[in-house]
């Protein structure tokens, strides 16, 4: 765990400190995202943690040990650092860039080679194609991925990442975020992750630190609670419009209650008499197939089915585009008879907000 207490950093000649009164506990194995407007001290905070700069006041501990008592180079080798400007070594190949810290640590050549290839594949670059290239032969997004791979090379317990996915297109970025989360689920590193992008913060963070200019914490909380209960106007305006819709990415469909729907088998259709106006769900072999109303003959096909593990955000997106305004929740085999409607999601959002508000007052 990393603990910052009473940290202040004033650069020479600065009247207003870049960071002030910073108290922050970063629990082991969690991803803490620093987010805030440009110049609010995000990079400064990272550089304080690995001692690229020394605080004007305050104390930083890593696992209970004051970092000022550790050899800075040894400390930094335990903390992978992805800098905002990437900073690959232009005269070294991609493999040499990634293998730098392992080489310093005295790994043998075979082990380094294997690790380089493993990391390249991990960040989605074909090892055969990229290991021998030079940084100038990469696109911005590829360089960024190499930067991430390089920081992870020696498997450090702590990762400091300064906008690691900033220059990447949305699709690749989403893939890298997913990939990073998948890896993080198994390796559980202590990660301090900087971004400008509140959506990225919500997606990546176990906790989010919202900083205002001057390096003060506006709110330090879980993504759910930051979205549902912003501490003040600054936080609310930083999150911006659509906070509730954003919050939907954090909840799975399986967390809300879907309504079991009245169903009929195809063979029973003839015997169908008056219903209460709501269509019945026709199941074929347990799979949803059509919506039928008495006297309407064939009915309409079921156009929207959703797996249980999609986020409410994706569920909402699908429902808005659905003719019937309903979606059937199905398992891996496509079987199911529970239904969600637009209103189900609205009710879930309201319930969540109430819960967070209760926690905040409790």
């Amino acid at each position: 765990m990393i603990r910052l207490s009473g940290i202040e950093k004033r650069f020479p000649g600065q009247t207003v400190p870049a960071v002030r009164h910073l108290d922050l506990d970063i629990p082991r194995g969690e991803v803490v995202v620093l987010v805030g407007p440009s110049g609010c001290g995000k990079t400064t905070t990272l550089r304080l943690i690995n001692r690229l700069i020394e605080p004007t006041a305050g104390r930083i501990e890593l696992d209970g040990e004051d970092v000022t008592e550790v050899d800075p180079d040894a400390l930094r080798r335990r903390m992978g650092y992805v800098i905002q400007q990437i900073g690959l070594f232009p005269h070294m190949t991609i493999a040499e860039n990634i293998g730098m810290v392992p080489r310093i640590l005295g790994w043998d050549a075979d082990r380094i080679r294997a690790r380089v290839d493993e990391l390249l594949e991990l960040v989605g670059l074909a090892a055969d194609e990229y290991r021998g290239r030079y940084p100038k032969e990469l696109s911005g997004g590829q360089s960024q991925r190499v930067g991430v791979a390089r920081a992870m090379a020696a498997d450090p317990p702590v990762l400091l990442m300064d906008e690691p996915f900033g220059a990447i297109d949305p699709i690749t970025r989403a893939r890298l975020q997913d990939e990073f989360q998948r890896v993080q689920d198994t390796v559980a590193k202590t990660v301090v992750f900087v971004t400008h992008d509140i959506d990225e913060a919500v997606k990546m963070g176990d906790r989010i630190v919202l900083l205002r200019v001057g390096g003060e914490i506006a709110q330090y909380d879980t993504p759910e609670r930051i979205l549902a209960a912003p501490a003040d106007d600054f936080v609310a305006s930083f999150i911006g419009a659509g906070a509730r819709v954003r919050g939907l990415t954090l909840t799975r469909l399986s967390d809300v209650e879907a309504t079991p729907w009245p169903t009929v088998e195809p063979g029973e259709l003839e015997r169908l008499d008056a219903t209460d106006g709501r269509p019945l769900l026709v199941l074929e072999d347990g799979r949803p197939s059509r919506w039928v109303v008495a006297g309407d003959g064939a009915g309409t096909p079921v156009d929207t089915v959703l797996r249980r593990d999609v986020s409410l955000h994706d569920a909402l997106d699908a429902l808005i585009g659905s003719e019937s305004g309903r979606a059937v929740v199905v398992d891996e085999d496509g079987r199911g008879r529970d239904v969600v409607e637009l209103d189900t999601i609205r009710a879930a959002v309201v319930a969540m907000r109430r819960r967070h508000a209760d926690e905040a007052t409790a």
Binding site: A74, L75, R76, Y81, I83, L88, P90, V101, G147
Partner: protein
Amino acid sequence: MNLFEYVSSRQELVVELTLQHALVVALSIAIATIIGVGTGVLVYRRDRAARMAIATAGVFLTIPSFALFGLLIAPLGLGYPPTVVALVLYALLPILRNTVTGLRSVDPAVLESARGMGLGRRRRLLRIELPLAWPVILTGIRVSTLVTLGIAAIAAAINGPGLGDLIFEGIGRIGAVNALNQTLTGILGVVVLALVFDTLFFGVRRLTTSRGVR
């Protein structure tokens, strides 16, 4: 006798003087490189020190070569020692200045990531900064080499080695038989050496700079 016949008739002497010339320049450049790059490494992060070092090296260049060679006779005598010392002094400025420029032009982001990865002062210098500054430093060494090739000819005035002998002797008896040929041979030798050294530098540059920074 035309120039060609003249050179063939004294082939042995011409070859020997050319080799001497090349050797004294190579030796001086080697020493100047050690001193220049070493000083550059020591001063490039200190603004005042860097300015003072460069200014001092600049002063040597402004001393007329003839006068400098003469001044060095008293402490060092004649021949190789004063020649090498003088040439080193002339060669310093381009090497030192380019070392400082090269080291300072390394991208700060590259240094920040190197520091952030836990590369200490020495490793950063040897693995990152010097390799990245090397093309610029090498250019300085090349310029120094060309400058000293010319100046080395003056060393003949103090009994120094090299092609200067032919030039001075030829000039001294100008109008006499073959005097012009003698002078021209000396000059031609220097020009040929310059071309050879230049080619050499081209090869060294290719061999010693990474494809990533070419």
